[in-house]
Subunit: 353 residues, 2 copies
C-alpha cells in the first residue's frame, strides 16, 4: 500500500513529508489510494503572489516564467521564499479504487490541502495567465493522496467564488471555535463581560469571513482593522463589524490603540489576517491578558511572536492558524450564502482581480 | 513619563518595539521608571549559540568577536540570523523611583525578558569567556523597562543553576497549563482516558522541566523523546518520564511511531523542546486529533507548522510557546527543588558546560 500522506512521491530529500520536500514526483499514473485531478485553475497564496510580483516589479511575464520554473523544478507550486503555495480547482479524472476521499470521475473539486504538498504538472505553459493576479487559469494534472482533502464545488455558486472562499476556509472555522470557547469559559465562570474580537485585515477574504464567524460564535463586539480608507469604507458599508478602524498593523502602538479604542478594552481574541511581516507585536499588545491571538498570515515570524509576548510580559495564548478544522469548507460556504456582507466583499474582490 | 515597554530606547527603525528594533540606545543613565543592572553573566539562547558556533566551526575566538560586534552594533544581544537572544544575571545598581518592578540596589537578579529587547553595554570585552559555552561571564550594564520581568535569585540555589532554570521557565508553566486544561476537559466530558504527553527533547533543560510539570498537572502517561543513546540513558535513569524513546525528531514517521508506541496512542499534548529545524511535521503527526502541540523551539517555522497540519488534515491546536506565564519563575524553581530527577539533569548539564 502506498503512503496515505504521500511519502512515496517524495524525490528529495528522502524521508520528509511532501510539504517539506524540495522535489516531488508528479507523474500522472496513480496508486490505488490516489486521485488524479485535471487542473483548471490555480489560486496562488497571497503572500507568495505578492513576493513574486514585487520581486519582478509587477512584470507579469516574469512572474509567469518563475511560476513555470518552480513547478517544473519542484513538481509542485511552492514559493521557495515564502514557503507557501495556494490551492487548485479541477475535475476528477481518475480515482483509485482504494481512495478514501469519496470522489468520482467527473466531480468538480477544489483541493483543500496546500499546493505546497500537491504533485503538479503544468501542460499549457500558463498561456492564458497574464501573471498579474493570484487566480491562474491552468491546464495540467495534480495528484491527491489518501489523507488529502478536496471539496466538491457547490452548484449554486460560481466556481471562482467557491474557490476564493475555500482557499481561506480554515480561518473562519478556527476563529469560530476559539470565540465559542471564550464565550463558554465566561459562562462557566459567571463572567458577564462580552467577548471582544479584533480582526486585523478585516476587509480581506479570510478577514471578512472571520468577522462573520466571530459574530455568529457569540462575540459581543467586533472590530475590523484595515490599512487604507478604501477598505475602511468597503468594510463599514457591509456592516460585518461593529466598528471599523484604520491603522497600520506593523505599528504596535497604533494598532493596539485602534483596537482598544474601538472595543473599549483590549481584544479577547485577535485574528491576524494580513499578509505583511511585522504584525506580531501589535497583535500581542492589542490583546487582553488571558486572551488569544490567532495568526493566519503566512508572513508571521515564530520568533517575533514568541519573544514579543515574553518581552511585553503578555499572558496571551498564541495559535498557529491551522488551515484544517473539521467542517471548515461547509462553514465557510454557509457564511458566504447567509451573509450578504461577505458575499459583497468577495464579489467586489473577484471583479477587481 | 517614558514608555513602559521601552519605546524611548529604540534608535532604528523608529516606532517599533525594542525587540523588533535593529538598534537600541544602551546608555547607562536611567529614566525614573527604569532599572540599571550591573551584568555578571549572559546566558545565550541555545539556537543562537549553536548558529554562531557552527558558523565559526567551533572557533571560540571568532564566536566571542561576533557577540561583541553584535552588542556594539545593536545595543543588545540579538543574533541577526536566529532572531533570538537569551537572558542575563546581575546585581541591581540603580532602580528608578517610579519603577514598578519592586527591585532595590544590591538585589541579585535574573532577567526573564529576552536579551533581544534589553539594552546592553559590554565593558570587559568578554575577556573571561572562551566562546565555547552558552554561559558567558560578562561585566557590563543592562537596562530594564517598567514592563520587564526580573526574578530575585533565591539564596538556596547556586546562581548558575537558578539562571539555567529561569532561562526556560516559560516551558514548564505553559505545559502545566495546557495539560491541566486537557485533564479538566476530559473530566467535564466524562472521558476516562488518561492524558498522554510527549516531550520532544525530554532530556534537555526545558524538556525535563516540562516532563515534570506535565506529570504534576495530571498527565496519565508521559514519554520523553531524545536523539541519542546517552540522553536516553540519562533521562531513563532519573525517572522523569514513564517511557523514554529514541528517535530523530526531524523524521516525521520515526517520531510519530516512537511516540505512538510509547504512549499506546498518539499524544494528547506534544511539547517541542529541541532547537533544530524541521520538527514541525513529526510533532503534528505524533499528536492525536483534538490534541495540542506546543512549540518552544526558536527553530520552529511558522509556515511549516501551519501548512504541515493542513496537509495532514490534522485537527490539532498549535501554540507558539510564550515565554511568559504568570508565576513561571516560581513554578520552575519549585520543580527543581522538588524533583531530584530535574536537579540531577541540570547539575550534570552545568558540569559538562
Amino acid at each position: 500500500m502506498t503512503s496515505p500522506v504521500g511519502l512515496h512521491r517524495v524525490v528529495e530529500p528522502a524521508g520528509v513529508l511532501p510539504q517539506a520536500a524540495w522535489r516531488l514526483d508528479a507523474r500522472p499514473e496513480i496508486a490505488p489510494n490516489e486521485v488524479r485531478i485535471r487542473v483548471q485553475r490555480l489560486n496562488l497564496d497571497a503572500a507568495s503572489f505578492r513576493q513574486l510580483s514585487e520581486k519582478h516589479g509587477g512584470d507579469g511575464e516574469k512572474v509567469r516564467a518563475e511560476v513555470l520554473d518552480i513547478v517544473a523544478t519542484r513538481g509542485k507550486m511552492q514559493n521557495p521564499v515564502t514557503g507557501s503555495g495556494g490551492m487548485l480547482i479541477g475535475t476528477v479524472e481518475e480515482a483509485g479504487r482504494r481512495s478514501p476521499l469519496g470522489l468520482r470521475a467527473g466531480d468538480r473539486v477544489a483541493t483543500l490541502v496546500s499546493l505546497t504538498l500537491t504533485p503538479l504538472t503544468i501542460l499549457d505553459g500558463l498561456a492564458r495567465w497574464d501573471g498579474r493576479s493570484e487566480q491562474v487559469p491552468c491546464d495540467g494534472y495534480a495528484i491527491l493522496f489518501a489523507r488529502s482533502i478536496a471539496a466538491v464545488l457547490p452548484d449554486d455558486l460560481h466556481p471562482e467564488l467557491s474557490l476564493a472562499v475555500l482557499d481561506v476556509c480554515g480561518a473562519p472555522a478556527l476563529t469560530a471555535r476559539v470565540v465559542a470557547e471564550q464565550v463558554a469559559r465566561r459562562q462557566r465562570e459567571g463572567d458577564p463581560r462580552p467577548v471582544g474580537v479584533a480582526v486585523i485585515g478585516g476587509a480581506g477574504k479570510s478577514g471578512s469571513l472571520s468577522l462573520a464567524a466571530a459574530r455568529r460564535a457569540g462575540a459581543g463586539r467586533t472590530v475590523g482593522v484595515v490599512p487604507v480608507v478604501a477598505e475602511r469604507d468597503a468594510l463599514a458599508g457591509v456592516g460585518l463589524a461593529d466598528a471599523v478602524a484604520l491603522a497600520d498593523a506593523r505599528d504596535p502602538v497604533a494598532l493596539s490603540t485602534a483596537v482598544t479604542t474601538a472595543l473599549g478594552a483590549p481584544a479577547d481574541v485577535t485574528v491576524v489576517c494580513v499578509d505583511v511581516p511585522g504584525c506580531e507585536h501589535g497583535a500581542v499588545l492589542a490583546t487582553a491578558d488571558g486572551g488569544t491571538v490567532i495568526f493566519f498570515s503566512m508572513a508571521t515570524s515564530f520568533a517575533a511572536a514568541a519573544l514579543g509576548a515574553e518581552g511585553l510580559a503578555a499572558d496571551v495564548t498564541m495559535l498557529v492558524g491551522n488551515g484544517y478544522v473539521p467542517g471548515h469548507a461547509e462553514l465557510a460556504l454557509q457564511l458566504l450564502r447567509a451573509e450578504p456582507g461577505v458575499r459583497a466583499l468577495f464579489t467586489a474582490r473577484l471583479a477587481a482581480d
